[in-house]
């Protein structure tokens, strides 16, 4: 077995994974109404191309990408657009965002699909375009538009890493995908390898998923230069930079990306989505989602159309939406609580935890920091969480940046081990937000300063011009020809009066003709 390295720190939280892998993947029931936020990805909002009343078919684009970092949205089923308006979205802020609401007609009729017959004949840029138009974003959780990651620029790609690590507790959607749809992943991998011209390919799977490992090994038996590698189970191994370190022994530099050391990382579900658009012509309209927690009787993975209300999935898995203590999107380490079961599933929803009281530790009392240093021992990025905490708490934002706050991946290991139960990550998120806000305000202030200075300059030039004109006139008056008689002046005045008169007449006649023509 090839060597694997390890990263600093990490934790071993309770897994809770086996409860949702007992049942095979099933299709979720077709919902009546689907709400599709226009920002299911990182980047700019998509722009609607439909209006209420329009009929749409399954897979039809209903909002197009705007700008470079953006992704289009497609209708997950056939039906009618009933609303294009601001709707609550699953987001920690609880705010609303522009969304499109589709009412299903129950027929689930596809738009005409055009698979690519031979992707090897396409050049990488054409492939990227297809991926962009299909609305494919990173399905591991971040939702970064995939086509951008398929464009390494001038950097050569030595290794393509398929991320099947899935290190967060409770989540099993990638596990089930690898067990049941390994062929789709391998097919997608071939496409991505072609697009990136990547030499080697590593499929990384944590050693707590032996079935997924077997399945992937079997599916890749005829592939050349593809290694399925089991990596030791430790959180947060699924984070891109940590995984690259485990597989290559190289650390991604601070402020750098994996591509800077010749590695591109893609989630297994993302490459399966690429397979679906290339070989079946189907854009990204659904994904596997783990519905788990003790709030549901039958935890399992469902193939869910985007826009489906989470409550319907919970009910389909035998849960009672009124009995749920907490609803969490994502895992218990990095996910966030939601306050409404009617919120829709979006592209970045990998897991819904319908938590009963016993599932998650209730918020324990927060006590003062005792400087034990446990957080420093587990930080996978080698930061000093304790120092960051002090500075963030006292809003010393210069200092937190000196301590490399922006390298923090918000994995939550430090909060997890803190014996004083201090919500450390919340402080880091707060500090990051404040720094971004200050930067944004600074930019705005700079623009305002420029405009203010430009305006002052303009006013001054105007004033100077006026002054110059006045002086010129004065000079002209003074230099006036003394020989010029009063008669000449009178004649000039008379001529001016005539001009005004004739212009008035002209205007009158024109108005008359206009009136008559009306």
């Amino acid at each position: 077995m090839a060597q694997v390295w390890r990263f600093h720190g990490g934790v071993h939280p309770e897994q809770h994974k086996t409860i949702s892998t007992r049942e095979p993947v099933a299709n979720a029931d077709l919902p009546q109404r689907l709400t599709l936020p226009l920002n299911q990805h990182i980047g700019q909002f998509a722009e609607p191309v439909v209006k209420p009343g329009d009929r749409v078919l399954k897979g039809q684009m209903i909002a197009r990408a705007t700008g470079y970092v953006s992704a289009p949205v497609h209708a997950p089923t056939s039906g009618t657009i009933v609303e294009v308006d601001s709707k609550p979205i699953p987001h920690p802020s609880g705010l609303s965002a522009p969304s499109i609401v589709v009412e299903s007609d129950g027929e689930d009729r596809w738009i005409e699909r055009t698979p690519v017959a031979d992707f090897t004949s396409l050049d990488p840029s054409a492939l990227r375009n297809i991926v962009r138009e299909a609305g494919i974003v990173g399905l591991g959780g971040a939702g970064f538009p995939t086509y951008i990651k398929l464009n390494p620029g001038k950097q050569p790609v030595r290794t393509l890493v398929l991320n099947g690590v899935e290190c967060e507790p409770f989540i099993t959607c990638d596990d089930m995908l690898m067990r049941e749809r390994a062929d789709e992943i391998v097919s997608g991998m071939r496409i991505v390898r072609h697009a990136l011209n990547a030499g080697e390919c590593i499929i990384a799977i944590e050693d707590n998923k032996p079935q997924a490992y077997e399945s992937m090994v079997y599916a890749t038996r005829n592939e050349k230069n593809v290694h399925v590698r089991q990596v030791p189970t430790i959180y947060p191994e699924g984070s891109e930079k940590q995984l690259v370190q485990v597989l290559t022994g190289k650390e991604v530099p601070s402020n750098g990306l994996a591509i800077h050391i010749g590695v591109v990382c893609q989630n297994v579900a993302t490459v399966a989505a690429i397979h679906r658009i290339i070989h079946h012509g189907e854009p990204l309209i659904s994904r596997l989602i783990t519905v788990t927690g003790n709030g549901v009787k039958q935890p399992r993975n469902l193939d869910v159309l985007f826009g489906t209300p989470m409550g319907e999935l919970i009910e389909q898995c035998g849960g009672d939406v009124d009995m749920i203590d907490r609803l969490i999107m994502g895992g218990p380490m990095m996910g966030f609580a939601l306050h409404d079961v009617r919120l829709p599933v979006i592209k970045t929803t990998n897991c819904i935890i319908a938590a009963a009281r016993e599932d998650l530790p209730q918020s324990r009392p927060v006590m003062p920091c005792i400087r034990c240093g446990a957080c420093t021992d587990v930080c996978p990025v080698n930061l000093l969480p304790q120092q960051l905490y002090w500075y963030a708490k006292h809003k010393e934002f210069d200092k937190v940046q000196e301590y490399n706050l922006f390298d923090c991946i918000e994995c939550g290991c430090c909060s997890y081990v803190c014996p004083s139960n201090i919500p450390l990550v919340q402080y880091y998120r707060f500090a990051k937000g404040e720094i971004w806000t200050t930067e944004r305000e600074k930019e705005k202030a700079d623009i305002a300063r420029q405009r203010f200075e430009f305006r002052n300059q303009r006013l001054e030039t105007e004033k100077a011009d006026r002054e110059a004109r006045r002086n010129k006139k004065k000079a002209a008056l003074q230099n006036d020809d003394p020989a010029r008689s009063d008669d000449a002046a009178k004649q000039e005045i008379e001529a001016a009066r005539q001009r005004v008169h004739s212009r008035k007449n002209e205007a009158n006649t024109q108005r008359d003709t206009e009136n008559t023509t009306e």
């Binding site: 802020s93 006590m367 707060f430 937000g433 404040e434 405009r451 305006r455």
Partner: protein, 184 residues
């Protein structure tokens, strides 16, 4: 004895000339302190500090004519930053200059606008678009919320509306919890 005096005198003259040359060659135009102060001000250009814009206020602070607590839009953060820069003690905002309030944006009620251009002349950052006897409108992106356009409007059609938080400006709040000394 003489040699020592001579040597020191020559050294003194040489270094004096060097310094004199450097003072002319590397002369700093303007007062860099004014720029530093100006960069800390919010550039609202509202004039609540009693100076006609942020830069004149920065000038006044640098000259010692104005205090550092006269900028309501900047609030405590600006006072703190100025205090740090000038090595003074921060003090609370002078209530004579106004109160700290949430950021607002000017919005023109377009049907009511008579196109008098008075607000355009009042806007310190040219954020109002329009022409004589044509409807005016505020370029929301450029508006600093200074309120200078509100008073001149003869038909009172300009309202200051609070800037609403949306997803692009939302950030995580400061964690709030009860600190307990002993676990319950």
């Amino acid at each position: 004895m003489i040699t020592a005096v001579l040597a020191l005198s020559i050294l003194g003259i040489v270094f004096g000339l060097l310094l004199g040359f450097a003072a002319i060659r590397f002369k700093v135009e303007g007062n860099p302190l004014v720029d530093q102060i100006d960069s800390l001000l919010p550039q609202t250009q509202c004039g609540q500090c009693t100076y006609p814009g942020c830069r004149p206020y920065a000038q006044a602070i640098a000259n010692g004519d104005a205090d550092i607590n006269q900028c309501p839009p900047g609030g405590e953060a600006t006072i703190q930053a100025l205090a740090d820069l000038l090595d003074r003690d921060p003090k609370p905002l002078n209530p004579e200059n106004g109160i700290i309030k949430p950021k607002t944006l000017a919005v023109i009620d377009e049907p009511t606008c008579i196109g008098c251009t008075l607000c355009i002349q009042a806007c310190p950052v040219d954020a109002i678009l329009g022409a004589a006897k044509q409807m005016h409108t505020v370029i929301a992106e450029e508006c600093t919320g200074c309120e200078l356009c509100v008073a001149p409007c003869p038909v009172d059609c300009i309202k200051m509306v609070p800037v609403e938080q949306d997803l692009s400006t939302w950030t995580w709040p400061y964690p709030v919890y009860e600190l307990t000394e002993k676990p319950a």
